[in-house]
Symmetry: C2
Subunit: 198 residues, 2 copies
């Protein structure tokens, strides 16, 4: 999508995406218009269409991709190196803190809802996010267990699902207890057996 | 809400709710109008407003309550008696089958989105559902472990979050692998230690 674009062009495009992300976080994706983005970024209509030929839908898709990246970013540096139990605990806390801070808000969810939850575009962004997230968890599970490939993958998926479930329940109820309990249960089998967990 | 209503009145009200539920399942809650409900139930406008004074929002809230009940219903008879490992396995399979069949559809989600996900009404319905669900899981965890109250509650919450996470990932990607892995991991600590699980 960025091919043939100059470094300056890429920087401008990125600046528009970040500004549009702030807007959709504030107002919700459904309420963010092309004019809002134009005003917030001090760009002309023709400039916007230069970077986002399909207009609003293009911008929202780019913002969704950006927000998907932010989801992973919020879990760093832990997610990138889950090779110790300490790192898993740090990751657990980072996830809990991040979603506690977001509370009822779900930037990516509001965007995929606006793109159409089961639209090919939304699905591709969400699937890529889950895949990248799962790959990082797989590397971590592999590093701290001696499980086989398939067991490692299933463990990683169960941890990822625990996060998603805890978050969706936090958003539905405003309570962080579920995410807390889900994370603890999901990673406890990775704890080195010294004190021992059931 | 039903106080002072005759048995016949309650039956009529229930009939309208069930018909409206079928409609919202087909068309989605956002697209279901009062006229659709009227046509599908062969009731007059004044009859509808007799049973649902606030009109469409009232009907959608009643349908959401009904669908919340259906969520628990789909897990029976297992959810009602999780006192053996066999019952937990039966429950696991019932949950997996139910959501695999629903696939991308999420009747209750479409209703709470239409009521406003963070509206007091939607939140109260969702919170009640989670509470009732959690209570059933708590009874089950208590029956098969010797854990203390707080540990039991956390275990039940982690199992509930595993279901929610697996379902939200199924709806985002069309893949059942996450729900499968999440359920297995969430209930495996409840398995009697004979063959043993990690």
């Amino acid at each position: 999508m960025n091919k043939g674009m100059t470094a300056k062009g890429r920087a401008t495009r990125h600046r528009i995406i970040v500004a549009a992300a702030m807007l959709t976080r504030e107002k919700g994706a459904a309420e963010t218009t092309l004019d809002d983005v134009r005003a917030a970024t001090a760009t002309s209509k023709s400039q916007l269409f230069h970077y986002f030929p399909e207009g609003r839908a293009d911008i929202l898709a780019a913002v969704a991709e950006y927000e998907a990246g932010q989801v992973l970013e919020a879990q760093q540096p832990y997610l990138g190196d889950l090779s110790t139990w300490e790192s898993w605990q740090g990751w657990r806390q980072a996830v809990l803190d991040h979603y506690t801070e977001l509370g009822q808000k779900c930037p990516l969810g509001s965007l995929t809802a606006e793109l159409g939850k089961s639209s090919p575009q939304a699905r591709s962004i969400v699937t890529s996010l889950y895949d990248e997230w799962e790959a990082a968890l797989v590397r971590g599970v592999k590093a701290v267990t001696s499980d086989e490939e398939e067991a490692v993958r299933r463990r990683a998926r169960s941890i990822l699902a625990a996060v998603q479930g805890g978050v969706v329940m936090l958003q539905g109820t405003g309570r962080t207890d579920y995410l807390d309990a889900a994370l603890t249960a999901a990673i406890s089998p990775l704890q080195p057996v010294t004190a021992g967990t059931a």
